[in-house]
């Protein structure tokens, strides 16, 4: 087993909180305690109503493909083994969007609105990345 060479989230502040939930295989986003708006990436206060109060609320994990790019030439050496690979924007049912990968799907089969669900990939002993696969 080679050392994991891909970039890892730095995980400072609220970003670290997000990934700590991922490590527990929970996909949680900030949700305003006042107006109930979801938000991502994490913010200090609600951009809709201004409330500082919020909680990390778990989402269904279901969403759909919003856009993507299929990388055919790696610009970072650690991704050379993956090409071609698609980096996908997934819109979750709750409305927040997450950059991720869709596993178990050839890139040419990607289309707008494709239903996907979250899977958790433990890429290192410390870090888990949320990824997606087509809904069964």
């Amino acid at each position: 087993m080679g050392e994991y060479g891909k970039p890892l989230p730095r995980g400072e502040g609220y970003h670290g909180d997000f990934y700590r939930f991922c490590k527990q295989h929970e996909l949680r986003f900030q949700r305003c305690a006042d107006c109930q708006a979801w938000r991502h990436p994490p913010r200090e206060c609600c951009p809709h109503c201004g409330a500082f109060a919020w909680r990390w609320e778990q989402v269904s994990g279901k969403g759909q493909v919003y856009s993507w790019t299929v990388v055919q030439r790696a610009l970072h050496p650690a991704f050379a083994e993956d090409v071609p690979y698609a980096v996908v924007i997934v819109e979750l049912a709750e409305g927040v969007r997450l950059v991720s990968r869709v596993l178990d799907l050839p890139p040419q089969e990607l289309r707008l609105g494709l239903p996907v669900e979250v899977v958790f990939v433990d890429v290192t002993p410390e870090v888990t990345l949320p990824m997606f696969r087509p809904c069964r």
Binding site: K6, P7, L8, P9, R10, G11, H15, F18, Y19, R39, H40, P41, P47, Y66, S67, W68, T69, V70, V71, Q72, R73, A74, L75, H76, F79, D82, Y85, V87, I89, V96, R97, L98, V99, S100, R101, R111, L112, V123, V127, L129, M131
Partner: protein, 392 residues
């Protein structure tokens, strides 16, 4: 309310050679371009009393000390990535309109080929330029994009391009029209890095895909070089050697949120979408009055996106607009008449401002006949935007 319309002028422009391997520090390149621009304005370095910089590569203390500016009255730095140089014009126009400064220098330069992160890695980190600071945008990349393999602007903007293609049917040939127009224009510009290297549609389609939908030839050049322009008040401009080029309308805009491309209610609502109506209103003109455009062309598709945001065509129609040949020198909206970032050089679009100024002086190598009004855009980071409408 008094606006900035016609209150400030570009009176001097200059640039270094555009190369791959300048062998010079960024500061040296910037100083050379600055001296050309100051001389072009009929001024001396000690006449400069304002500096508006873009990003982090050089700082105001270095420039003032090297140019021997005895009384630097106004200095600031714009942080909008490639949208910075045009936004810097706005700051300079404000400064001269308010009397905060008389002659404002706007320089930009970098070793965009020889000191990129990749080259820096292979050269053991040796560099003469300052490194970029971390910000909210790089935090998004580090925490949410890069772990999945999206590590460069090409990848982030490709998400917009893919969605545009899926929704509106934008094609490879339509994106190619941007690259081909730029390359054709560069064949008339001896300073262009791609001068003497014409391009065909076949060449374009044969160039390898890096990240769909972008091929190598959808991407701007990486070059070393610097540009500079000098801005002064309309009153002062009348005493200087060149016909003044007036800043007729100018604005900047920022998408919401600016630090994440994925979570925008409307992904095609870019900074320019907010800025363009303001600049056209200030200038009192509409898109159909514009004789030529210099659009920030980091990627072919990003030009199409901006043409729609500017109002030159409706959403989804920029592809056919480009494919009809309208962006070519013989079209009704000549675009990137110097070759652009795609075929002249990548100087964060300050080279677009230099070119627009020469067009409006009627001294460009590939002249838009009888042009009176030109428009220049900047695009930076995750879609920050800026534009200026210039007149002779």
């Amino acid at each position: 309310m008094q606006t900035l319309k016609d209150r400030a002028c570009i009176v001097g422009v200059g640039e270094t050679a555009y190369t791959r391997g300048s062998g010079k520090s960024v500061l040296r390149l910037v100083l050379e371009a600055a001296r050309y621009a100051i001389a072009d304005a009929g001024l001396q370095p000690h006449d400069i009393d304002g500096l508006v910089l873009s990003a982090h590569y050089v700082n105001q203390e270095q420039l003032a000390a090297n140019l021997g500016i005895p009384d630097l009255r106004y200095a600031t730095t714009v942080q909008m990535g490639g949208a910075s140089p045009v936004a810097a014009l706005q700051s300079a126009a404000m400064a001269v309109a308010c009397g905060l400064a008389t002659h404002v220098l706007i320089p930009f330069g970098w070793n965009g080929f020889s000191e990129t992160p990749v080259k820096r890695r292979s050269s053991g980190g040796k560099t003469y330029s300052l490194r970029p600071p971390e910000n909210a945008m790089t935090a998004s990349v580090r925490n949410y994009y890069a772990p999945y393999g999206a590590v460069a602007p090409m990848h982030y903007y490709a998400w917009l391009a893919t969605r545009h293609r899926q929704l509106y049917g934008t094609t490879d040939e339509q994106m190619a029209a941007v690259a081909l127009a730029c390359r054709e224009h560069a064949q008339h510009n001896p300073k262009a890095y791609m001068y003497g290297r014409p391009l065909t549609l076949e060449d374009y389609l044969n160039s390898p895909i890096l990240a769909t939908p972008f091929r190598v030839l959808d991407c701007c050049l990486e070059t070393d070089g610097a540009c500079a322009v000098v801005v002064t008040s309309a009153e002062r401009a009348r005493d200087l050697p060149h016909d003044p080029v007036y800043i007729m309308g100018i604005a900047e805009g920022h998408p919401l949120p600016a630090d994440d491309l994925a979570n925008r209610a409307d992904p095609f609502a870019i900074g320019l979408s907010y800025a363009a109506p303001k600049a056209f209103a200030m200038a009192g003109v509409s898109p159909r009055d514009i004789d030529f455009v210099e659009i920030y062309d980091c990627f072919t598709y990003v030009v199409l996106l901006q043409l729609e945001a500017l109002g030159f065509c409706r959403r989804g129609e920029a592809g056919p607009f480009a494919a009809e040949g309208r962006l070519r020198i013989d079209g009704d909206l000549p675009c990137n008449t110097h070759g652009g970032l795609l075929s002249e050089a990548h100087v964060w679009g300050l080279n677009h401002v230099v070119e627009a100024t020469r067009q409006l002086r009627h001294e460009a190598p590939l002249q838009v006949r009888d042009c009176e009004l030109g428009l220049v855009t900047g695009w930076g980071d995750f879609g920050d935007g800026s534009l200026v409408i210039l007149r002779r």
